[in-house]
Symmetry: none
DNA sequence: CAGCGGTGTCACGCAATCGTAACATTTCCA
DNA sequence: TGGAAATGTTACGATTGCGTGACACCGCTG
């Protein structure tokens, strides 16, 4: 499947941020700094999706959108619009310029990645293997919020699920309790680090035989075993 | 077969966009900028289908619809309505207006083309499985705006219908309350996420035994059961 | 104008879930 | 080998999330 995503924005910072996040989500990122470049690259590379800033120098995102949607060769490329103000959304939506989704700045990179995946999933008709994380006989399906051990469905609570997902995403790397608290519970959680232990125990219990993949690294934290 | 499609919208951009996409899908496109022109061209050209914006200057899409459906010469022309809000859908479909289908803005051009093809196919007698979503003993018919449980017709409100349809389209995947608010209610609805709960409850109530397919995923949102 | 259906919000209560402390066990190193 | 530190385990009170019923609002219709 084509994993190329073209990102068009005139701000270097935005471009960097978006690129980094899309890359870590497994996409190949192409960049464009203005409208003309965006159109040229879209025609040449035929990306799976285009993230397009509404405000571009020279040629606005709207024009780029129209140009691409008007050309049979590129009309099928879905477009996600970036827009600065919420008020503009009204206008865009009213005009309906053929974008497939919109995000208003400021946006969280995580949100963008989710949106990109969502749009691609919608178009390619469901199954997105990128949302399946598998280690040993344990499979995590993020979109469905389901965990399976040897194809048997395991019922996890919200925190357990988030914890397991995070560990799977960072498979092989040790995660300290502090890190886990920050990333699973939130930025300023005033929660005892020992709480993590309890949740790990519950996870292991529920995973049963599948819990082999969770390793304790004494003095540091926890880690998911590499294959 | 007649491949002419008449598109009526006062926004130049929308007209361009829709035309381009329909053309690349193999249709011959006629354009109209207001209601009077739409009626005139429909009578003269007898297109195979009419895409009609609900909000037109001078004469609203509703009036155009009534006029065409009231004239034996044009009554057979199927009409797809473009509308901004979900609430309006109730009055458009199934009632005396006689529109054959509708699309709520924002829509992707791709979606429109699919809908046009679907309506045409339906008229030529071919069944169109794409319009029927079935899970368990619950069937959602998007075009007719109808929901059945064990072949018994269920009366849903506009919001309930859109909510259910969205969940069905994303069967298996968990939808957060925020996502549902965004996709069902609109982009910047300042509505409490708990409101979703209430609508889910009403949905379940109305679906009765069929409500088994709606699963609550504690801490995340809702999901339609697979199989 | 009153009645009505559709909608959004609120308060209550139950049950699942969470966080913590206390206790048990393992690991490591002097 | 013994003791301290780290981790596993257990139990329990506190919290949270969600279902439920009630109610107010609003546009529509007769």
């Amino acid at each position: 499947m084509n994993r190329k995503v073209l990102v068009a924005d005139d701000e270097e910072d935005v471009l960097d941020l978006v690129s980094a996040n899309l890359k870590s989500a497994g996409f190949t990122v192409l960049r464009a700094a203005d409208g003309a470049e965006a159109i040229a690259k879209a025609r040449r590379e035929l990306p799976a999706l285009l993230v397009l800033d509404l405000m571009l120098p020279e040629m606005s995102g709207i024009e780029v959108c129209k140009a691409l949607k008007g050309d049979p060769a590129t009309a099928a490329i879905p477009i996600i619009m970036l827009t600065a103000k919420a008020e503009e959304v009204d206008r865009i939506v009213g005009l309906e310029l053929g974008a497939d989704d919109y995000i208003t700045k400021p946006f969280s990179p995580r949100e963008l990645v989710l949106r990109v995946k969502s749009v691609l999933r919608r178009l390619t008709g469901d199954s997105d293997p990128g949302d399946q994380l598998k280690v040993g006989n344990v499979t995590v399906d993020r979109a469905r919020h389901q965990v399976r051990v040897k194809n048997r469905l395991i019922d996890l609570t919200a925190t357990e699920f988030k914890l397991l997902t995070l560990l799977f995403e960072r498979r092989g790397r040790v995660q300290s309790r502090e890190q886990l608290l920050r990333d699973v519970w939130g930025y300023e959680s005033m929660i005892d680090t020992r709480t993590v232990d309890t949740h790990m125990r519950r996870l292991r219990e529920k995973l049963g035989g599948g819990s082999d993949c969770i390793e304790t690294v004494r003095g540091f934290g926890y880690r998911i075993a590499e294959e």
